[in-house]
Each structure stands twice: as C-alpha cells, then as structure tokens.
C-alpha cells in the first residue's frame, strides 16, 4: 500500500507492530502478483534473493488424476504467453518490502494501533498507537487504511459492518516446513508442469487438502487444511496431525515427502474465512485480508492485498484532492469493484469444492481453458461476461453447488458482478 501511495506522491505513515523478519503464512503467488512486483521495480530484489520461480500449479487428486494451470500473462496483443511468478519465504519477503518502503520515503512507527479516532459524524481521523518504546502517540490521518490482515483491526473497532463467517470458516490449516523432498521431476526446459519450483495442491475429500510450496532450493512449505471437527476428532497434537496427514492424505504427496522432520514449529490457523461487506467509509478503508478472506487453496491472498492497494492509491489521491468529501462513503465505487472481483474467487473455490469434476472440465476444456487461466492468474478485476463468457458458466456451476447443499456455510457474496451482468 505504502509503495503505491508513494507512487501517487503521497507520503504515508506505516504503523507495524511486528519486528521483521518474522514468520508469516502466504507464500505462493499468482501470476499477476508477480507482475505487480515487476511493475513496482522489485524484480531484481526477488531474483537476487533467489525466491523460487513458480511456473504454475499442479492439482492432484487422491487417485492420481491431476490438472495443471500454468502461469501465463497477456501480451500486448492480448494473447496468452508463458510467464513466471514467485514463491517467497515471508519472513524474508516482508522484511525486504518494509525496508524498500522506507527507502522509498514512507514514514514508519514501530508499534501497535490501539484505538481508532473518529469525529462526531463518524469520519475516521486517526489512531492511538502504542509504540514499541512504551510511549503512546495520537496519529492524525486524512485517510486511514487498515491493512492489518486477519487481525481485522477496524472491524474490531466497530468501524466496518459486521465480520461474518465465510463459507470455509469451519476449517483449520496446520503447517510447517520440510526438507529433502521430491519436487517437480523431469524438467527439460519445455514442459513447465515439471518445473521443480512449482506449487502442488493435493486433495483428498471435500475440504481436505494439502499444499506443497518450494521456498528455496531445499525447503518446502507444507500445510494440511481440513474441517476443524476432523482435526479435533483425531486427538493429536498439531505436529502429530500434520506428520500423519502428510504421510496419508494423498499418495503422490507421500511419495514426494521422504523426510517428515518438521524444520519449523507446526502452526495452526483456524476459522480463517470471513466476510465484511462494508469496508470503506469517510476517512478510511480496508484492504486485503482485513475485509474478506475465503480460503487459501488457490493462493490469491497476497495478490488481492497488493492489487487492492494499487486500486486504492489513486482513489485516495482523488479523495485528498477533495473528491467525494461530502459523500457518506467516498470510496463506495472502489468497494463495489473489489467485492465484485472477489466474487469470482468465491465462484472458483465453491465450484471446485462443490463439483470438482465439472470444475476440472472447465479448466481443461479448450473452449474455456484460457479464460480460467486468466482467473487463476488473478485477472479478475476487468473480466466481463463478454470478454470471459466462462465466468457465467463458472457462476452457474458454483450456484448449482451452493443451492444443492453440497457446500457448507452461507452465501454472502458481494453484488458487483451480479449488478454488472444484470
């Protein structure tokens, strides 16, 4: 966010409670996330730090059936061409992003945002911050951007609308890192699905899957996601659960994990799925995980946070210049657009879990494959039923799954796309 504001000529003040480097989950990027980083001039940094170059993702069912989604970009003629993105160890990546943000001119307070400040009409005017040195400062803001991730700070402050559970909130993710794995094999410089830096998604039953994300030449991030009730029913510690699941969940994964010694603590995140529908207002907005997180399966988190920041920065610039100051919600157009885009991700995830065979048909059918590759890359903000008819097909598939009761949870999608396609 800060880098995009700096690009707009706005000097932001960043408030961050953590000291970097620190552990964080969210390591595999979509194709468009890589493009955002390139456009920010960060490619050299990523290459210098030797982050693995992801060519795509292999999705492998328990019976060994698999499908492959390559990272592809749209060239100037709007044709798809091969591209690559990255997988990052977040302790390194986030440290570097913070350092680069400060190098580019952002101001920074090391501390925790505690209490929001509001004027009589509800406009957000700043925050009280508890600094790491023990002092407390009152920060005044013209626009306060909540980028606190799953902490959803403004929701806890009662500024946003209610934080409702998302469809996948009865899930738990348990994860760590391992060494000595069998990564993509047989890479001959041509078949990108075999590249050793690729992400794998292994799935077993509905809502029960695992990730395999190379973090460097040796270390691979591994995680298992399952219904929380399944985890509880096992009566195991996180580490026991993770190690047993990694050995059992999917034969191809078992084969790839020769050594189940965890080199990181086994961590867990339960109930990560939620949705806040009103996430902008006078003097404030939420970006990224602070307003909606569906499910990590297709690695959209980092990208959505960065892309929303890219869209937010010019909207904030216009607001600072006086636009929309008298409106009850000056950022309402931005909010609707972000919601409409994430609705496509909801469809992708619901379609996959609700009807995996029909979903695989959409991904593999030559008639729709390129459009699905666009969605997986993150090209979700400007797609229309005219440019991408497959989004209608995907929506129909997801709706059928949502209506048939094969998915759990309620449907709280935004209305951007529905309005646009009406």
């Amino acid at each position: 966010m800060a880098m995009y504001l700096l690009e707009q000529g706005i000097t932001p003040l960043v408030i961050e409670k953590e000291t970097f480097p620190r552990y964080h989950i969210g390591e595999s990027m979509t194709g468009e996330a890589g493009n955002l980083l390139r456009a920010l001039g960060l490619e050299d940094l990523l290459v210098r730090n030797a982050h693995p170059r992801k060519q795509g993702v292999n999705v492998v069912a328990r019976n060994g059936n698999s499908w492959w989604v390559p990272v592809m970009k749209r060239n100037d003629e709007h044709q798809l061409e091969p591209a690559q993105t990255w997988q990052v160890r977040r302790s390194d990546f986030d440290r570097d992003m913070m350092a680069e943000t400060i190098r580019r001119g952002a101001k920074w307070i090391s501390g925790r945002a505690m209490q929001v400040r509001r004027s009589g009409d509800g406009t957000v005017t700043g925050a009280q911050v508890k600094c790491d040195d023990g002092s407390t400062v009152e920060v005044e803001s013209e626009v306060l951007v909540d980028a606190s991730g799953q902490f959803t700070w403004l929701a806890h402050q009662g500024v946003t609308s209610a934080k409702n559970p998302g469809r996948y909130d009865k899930q738990i993710a348990i994860f760590s890192q391992v060494r000595n794995t069998i990564r993509g094999e047989g890479w001959d410089g041509k078949d990108r699905s075999k590249h050793p830096d690729n992400t794998y998604i292994f799935y077993a039953d509905q809502y029960h899957w695992a990730w395999f994300i190379p973090l460097d030449d040796d270390v691979v991030s591994v995680g298992v996601v399952s219904p929380s009730s399944y985890f509880s029913s096992k009566g195991e510690s996180r580490e026991e659960f993770l190690r047993r699941e990694l050995a059992e969940l999917n034969p191809d994964m078992t084969r790839r994990l020769k050594d189940l010694t965890l080199i990181e603590e086994a961590r867990a995140i339960p109930n990560y799925s939620y949705h806040i529908t009103e996430f902008t207002g006078k003097g404030w907005m939420c970006i990224g995980d602070t307003h909606r997180f569906i499910d990590p399966i297709f690695s959209f988190g980092l990208y959505v946070s960065m892309k929303e920041a890219q869209f937010a920065a010019p909207a904030i610039k216009r607001y600072l210049a006086g636009e929309g100051r008298d409106l009850p919600n000056p950022f309402i157009d931005h909010m609707r657009r972000m919601e409409g885009a994430i609705d496509h991700l909801q469809d992708l995830i619901d379609g996959f879990w609700g009807a995996s065979t029909s979903f695989a048909y959409l991904v593999n059918n030559p008639r729709t494959r390129e459009q699905l590759i666009d969605l997986f890359a993150g090209r979700i903000y400007d797609v229309t039923p005219e440019s991408h008819p497959a989004i209608l097909e995907l929506r129909a598939l997801a709706e059928k799954a949502r209506n048939s009761g094969v998915l759990w949870g309620e449907d709280r999608r935004g209305s951007g796309f529905l309005a646009a396609s009406a």
């Binding site: 059936n65 029909s358 048909y361 959409l362 129909a396």
Partner: protein
C-alpha cells in the same frame, strides 16, 4: 442403440475400456456411479461430446444427471442438438 449412443459407446470403449467386451456396455450401464468413468475420463468424455457433436455443454451440465449412462448421454446430446 441410436447413432449418438453408438458413437459415444465406441469412444468410451476405445478410450477407457480397451479390450473390454462391448456387450457389457449397455444403454443403461452406470458409467460414473458404476466407476467406469473416473473424474478425468468424465472430463474427456464431456469435451469429446462438445467437439464431436458441435454442441456447447456447460460445466454444470456435466454431472451424473446427463452423463451417467449411454441412454442419458444420448437424450442429453439430442436435446442440445434440437435447441
């Protein structure tokens, strides 16, 4: 069997049941629920139907209600061709 069913039957026998006795595959033999077609084979079958019969099959139509037997497939393709 109608020609649509015959064409689909040949495709299934050639692609997924090489060497099988063609008489075992009857009009009402359950294909998906009977385990003859796994998910990958179902995807291939649906793509084949689209391309061979030049009809458009939406993803939500690729379930057992339309593809679980040669008879269902025949009726489904005919309804598409008539539309």
């Amino acid at each position: 069997m109608d020609t649509i069913e015959q064409t689909v039957k040949s495709f299934i026998l050639d692609s997924f049941l090489p060497g099988a006795d063609p008489n075992q595959l009857e009009a009402d033999t359950p294909l998906i629920t009977g385990g003859i077609l796994d998910s990958l084979a179902t995807v291939q079958l649906a793509v084949f139907l689209e391309q061979h019969f030049k009809v458009e099959i939406a993803a939500h139509e690729t379930g057992t209600e339309n593809l679980d037997s040669l008879a269902l497939i025949g009726a489904f393709v005919r309804s598409k061709l008539a539309a």
